[in-house]
Amino acid sequence: MQPPSPPGKIRYGYLRKTNFNPAGFRPALFSTPRPWCVLLLLLLTTMIGGCGTSGRPQLQPLAPLPPHEICRVAVLPFINESNYAQADLIVYKILMSELVNGTTFRVTLEGDVRKAFRQMRIAPQQKPTFEQLRMLADRLGVQLLIAGTINEASEVSGGRAPNSQLVMTLQLIDAPSGRILWNTYHKKSGQQYQKVMHFGLVSSISGLARRMSQEILELWLQEGLKPCAD
């Protein structure tokens, strides 16, 4: 488990994983360049080349989490800033699913959230005001709200190099006050999950959203978000 980062400091996950290679270091393997070594090197490069799963979500804590455990959460409809139609809906559904599946939060039904939005006349793709956030929290009986924005989404299917890319920002909002507690930014492409040949490659937005949601939830739990006991 990693220690929680100090407030106000952005954590750059993939910077931490970068290997430092001191000057002058030369592995013994390269000291005698032989044909089999070159072949082995090429094979290793091919196999490991796609394993660049270093793109971790970046968490920016803005305020401390509530000290007590959190039971009820609601996910607010996402805002789509990308050119990919329905990216907000797809990522929303998948994050909801991962919340139910991977945590012990009691997740408010999507239907109840959308009904509250309709009643409060909050238009789609519109961010609720502070007061509206408090009203939503009251009406839905939740302690924490999750808001999200899809910044970029693209998908290239078929061909020799199918790939997808997704950039999203999620915010944890303290329901009683409407204050943003954590801001999480995550950017990933499907090729970053590639292992050997095409294996592991994520070619769809849905697949990418699922893996990225899992990574974000994992990070949140690591950093101290406490769901109530099941």
Partner: protein
């Protein structure tokens, strides 16, 4: 032997009965799967049916498609992929189901290779809780095998794989825990107006969907700021209304509904807020004209710039021009904030020019609470042509011409064009201040010729005067009568200046 057979038969029958009751106990409603690949309202029946079939094979009692559709129609459920708690409660009541399956096909493609991504959720009808959910994507890379054997070629090949994957993670135990659904549901709320001034009435109306039994009927109160108020109840319809007069000071007033059950449980829900604002908007009118004798004076165009000292949203505005007797001559209304700048051409609604004189310009604006702010200024319409006097004298063979502005409005510019006859230029003089004196030597050979001239004057408001002098030499002789001078209107002045 017969006894042994009877016992065996009874045992077999009881086993069958137990099995049949155990299987039939869990009733599931599979709602049509939303299909985002067909648009927001798309539905995927093949996968819905496939899922229903797989659940039936697993031993659940799955409601028929027709039953689910008629339930949705009866309760006007139009959304796919999600349900609200009230609908789940109704499903439990009407359909007697234990579980509801909702799902969304997020993505689906047939070419170049079949692929599908779904999210399936299982909702427990007893408490409206999502007890299990799974998102599965079978894309072109996920279904590709190393040697290319048994790879799905179409969606029909893919759906059974998908269903198998869904059911592989199906929860083994779906027990109902102690937490039940919220014992009420807010169907609608109404709080108006949101911006008021002291003394205005505010109305709040709430409709709660679940009518409670008389025994468990809670007390429903309104909390307005720090006050607790009792509203009118229409229990049959679930309406709770409250109208009150607000006399408090300026500020924000939150309104909540407070529900207290006989067993002591309490729930306070914020419904909204309203704002008391008794401060009228402070309006200033800036006029772009010429200040003459303390009044803004113009001829054909007045620029009006309304300014708020403290910016705030406005709901409407009104502008009015009235004469010195207070009679309204021109007015106009608008919604929202007034334009940042208004031009007035000194005309009324029918395009007629206002007569010369003083007018009172008044502008009123209203903020969201209905407070009215006002600004007014006196303006003067001045269209009189400036009075230009031309005098001439001859001193020591010098023709001296004096130009004098006898009007009250300052001069913008003037021009004097003197010619011998009407063609030969003699002197052209211009200036921006009057009085002015122009001096030229008297031409030597003037036999049979005259010196004519044209003097032009424009004041700072744009009013113009043109004078024709038939003969400066005659004008310069004091004994004789003054030559005929013509005062032309603006339209007669054709020469480009």
């Amino acid at each position: 032997m017969a006894r042994y057979l009877a016992h065996s038969l009874i045992f077999m029958l009881s086993i069958c009965c137990w099995l049949s009751t155990a299987e039939a106990a869990v009733k599931v409603a599979v709602f049509p799967l939303q299909d985002l690949s067909q648009g927001d309202d798309g539905v995927n029946w093949p996968l819905t049916d496939q899922l229903g079939l797989a659940l039936t094979e697993k031993g659940f009692e799955v409601l028929s498609r027709q039953t689910v559709i008629s339930f949705m129609a009866r309760h006007r459920i139009r959304a796919l992929g999600n349900l609200e708690t009230y609908a789940i409660r109704q499903a439990r009541k009407d359909l007697d189901v234990t579980l509801l399956v909702l799902g969304t096909v997020c993505q689906q493609q047939t070419k170049p290779r079949p692929g599908v991504a779904v999210v399936i959720s299982l909702i427990r009808a007893d408490d409206g809780q999502t007890v299990w959910s799974n998102s599965i994507d079978l894309g072109e890379t996920e279904t590709r095998h190393l040697l290319g054997v048994h790879e799905p070629q179409s969606l029909d090949d893919l759906y059974p794989l998908l269903t198998k994957k869904i059911l592989a993670t199906w929860p083994a135990d779906i027990s109902v825990d102690a937490e039940k659904m919220q014992p009420f549901d807010i169907e609608s709320t109404w709080l108006r107006p949101v911006y008021i001034h002291s003394g205005q009435e505010v109305q709040c109306s709430v409709r709660l969907r679940i009518p409670w039994s008389p025994k468990n009927r809670p007390q429903v109160l309104f909390k307005v700021g720090k006050r607790i108020l009792q509203g009118e109840e229409s229990i049959a319809k679930g309406f709770y209304d409250l109208t009150w007069r607000e006399d408090g000071p300026d500020g924000r007033y939150p309104v909540s509904i407070a529900i207290q059950w006989p067993d002591g449980r309490r729930k306070i829900i914020l419904l909204g807020s309203y704002f008391v604002d008794n401060q009228p908007p402070e309006l200033e009118l800036e006029l772009k004209g010429f200040e003459l004798e303390g009044k803004t004076t113009f001829r054909d165009r007045l620029l009006i710039l309304p300014r708020l000292k403290v910016r705030e949203p406005l709901t409407r505005w009104h502008i009015n021009f009235s004469d010195s007797e207070g009679k309204s001559l021109l007015s106009q209304d608008g919604s929202g904030a007034p334009p940042e700048r208004l031009f007035w051409r000194g005309q009324d609604n029918s395009g007629r020019l206002f007569p010369e004189g003083d007018y009172l310009l008044t502008m009123q604006v209203w903020d969201r609470a209905g407070n009215m702010g006002q600004g007014s200024k006196m303006v003067t319409v001045h269209r009189k042509a400036p009075k230009l006097t031309v005098a001439a004298q001859i001193i020591k063979q010098e023709l001296i011409v004096d130009l004098l502005n006898e009007g009250t409005v300052p001069v913008a510019f003037w021009r004097l064009d003197m010619r011998i006859g009407t063609e030969i230029p003699l002197k052209l003089a211009e200036g921006t201040t009057l009085p002015a004196q122009i001096s030229i030597p008297v031409p030597q050979d003037l036999t049979g010729k005259i010196i004519t001239g044209k003097a032009f004057l424009q004041d700072i408001l744009g009013n113009k005067t043109t004078l024709f002098i038939k003969d400066f030499m005659t004008l310069a002789r004091p004994q004789t009568d003054l030559p005929a001078e013509g005062n032309l209107s603006d339209q007669d002045w054709v020469e480009e200046f």
